[in-house]
């Protein structure tokens, strides 16, 4: 029953009507959480005894890295829904999420490099996590290019879904690389279910708010961009129908 109600959102018209109501609230919440988390972290937290003020980069780097990986995992779920159930909205949601995930990956790579220069003495190292993140970025590029290169929407959705399945290996590798390859420069995860492994509370709470902001920003942008993709697909279908008849 619940699942049947969920599939109702696979109807493009229902999706647009629902997001008409949801999108403004999600957008306002995203801005509130982002501003609160970043202002709290930047202005009202102390320096770290080892990293100095560079610890403030954590409020952008960690949430963007988290979203870079989770955006791909969201694309994996919607791609699987497309493969199994052939719902166009799910394929279009994956397409809509890709540029957002790619920007999150770029932010994570750039802020990591900017932080790494004074802390590690280098902008870049072929460390397992950094390398798997770079490969994830290349997968995002390939995924977006594949959608653009194929004219038929269904064929594009099929092929990009397969690419997404393959790329998921690197998304998971990016997440867990620090756990099973400890020869790299990158330190362990900043957040963990085990409270002992987390960063200190003074950094932890603003970080949680910033993460909530990035998650909500991602949701708002994916909803907005999925609506655009639904409309673009309808427009292509109408134009094709008119050309034929």
């Amino acid at each position: 029953m619940t699942l049947n109600r969920l599939w109702a959102y696979a109807n493009p018209k229902t999706f647009i009507e629902t997001t008409d109501r949801v999108l403004p609230a999600v957008s306002v919440l995203a801005v509130l959480c982002l501003v609160t988390g970043l202002v709290w972290g930047f202005f009202f937290t102390p320096d770290d005894y080892r990293q100095g003020s560079t610890v403030k980069i954590i409020y952008i780097h960690v949430p963007s890295a988290l979203m870079a990986i989770n955006a791909w995992l969201m694309m994996l779920v919607t791609s699987l829904i497309w493969i199994v159930r052939r719902h166009h909205v799910s394929a279009l949601a994956a397409r809509a999420a890709a540029p957002v995930g790619m920007v999150m990956t770029v932010i994570a790579l750039l802020t990591g490099a900017i932080w790494g220069q004074p802390m590690w003495g280098t902008w870049w190292a072929w460390d397992p996590r950094l390398t798997s993140f770079l490969i994830l970025f290349l997968f995002y590029l390939g995924y977006i290019a594949l959608w653009e290169a194929i004219e038929n929407d269904d064929t594009a959705a099929d092929l990009t879904s397969i690419l997404c399945l393959v790329g998921s290996v690197f998304a998971l590798l990016s997440r867990y690389a620090v756990n099973f390859w400890n020869q790299g420069l990158h330190q362990g995860a900043s957040l963990s279910l085990d409270k002992e492994e987390n960063v200190a509370d003074v950094f932890y709470y603003p970080l949680l708010v910033a993460i909530a902001g990035f998650v909500l920003l991602f949701v708002a942008l994916v909803l907005l961009r999925t609506r655009t993709e639904i409309r673009a697909r309808r427009m292509r279908a109408l134009l094709a129908r008119e050309r034929m008849g």
Binding site: V103, T111, I114, R225, R227, R231, L238
Partner: protein
């Protein structure tokens, strides 16, 4: 109001600046394309409605 970022001021500020610029550009491009496609679809629907 501005916290004392010490010798890492340039590092911290450049990380924030680059990230915020990328986010703002992404939001603006998403909004612009959304508006453009919506207007184009309305025009096509009107045209198809007239012809069909």
């Amino acid at each position: 109001m501005m916290p004392d970022l010490g010798k890492y001021a340039e590092t911290v500020l450049s990380a924030y600046a680059v990230s915020l610029v990328l986010i703002v550009v992404l939001v603006l491009l998403s909004l612009r394309r959304g508006r453009k496609v919506k207007a184009e679809l309305e025009a096509v629907e009107k045209k198809v409605g007239k012809n069909g």
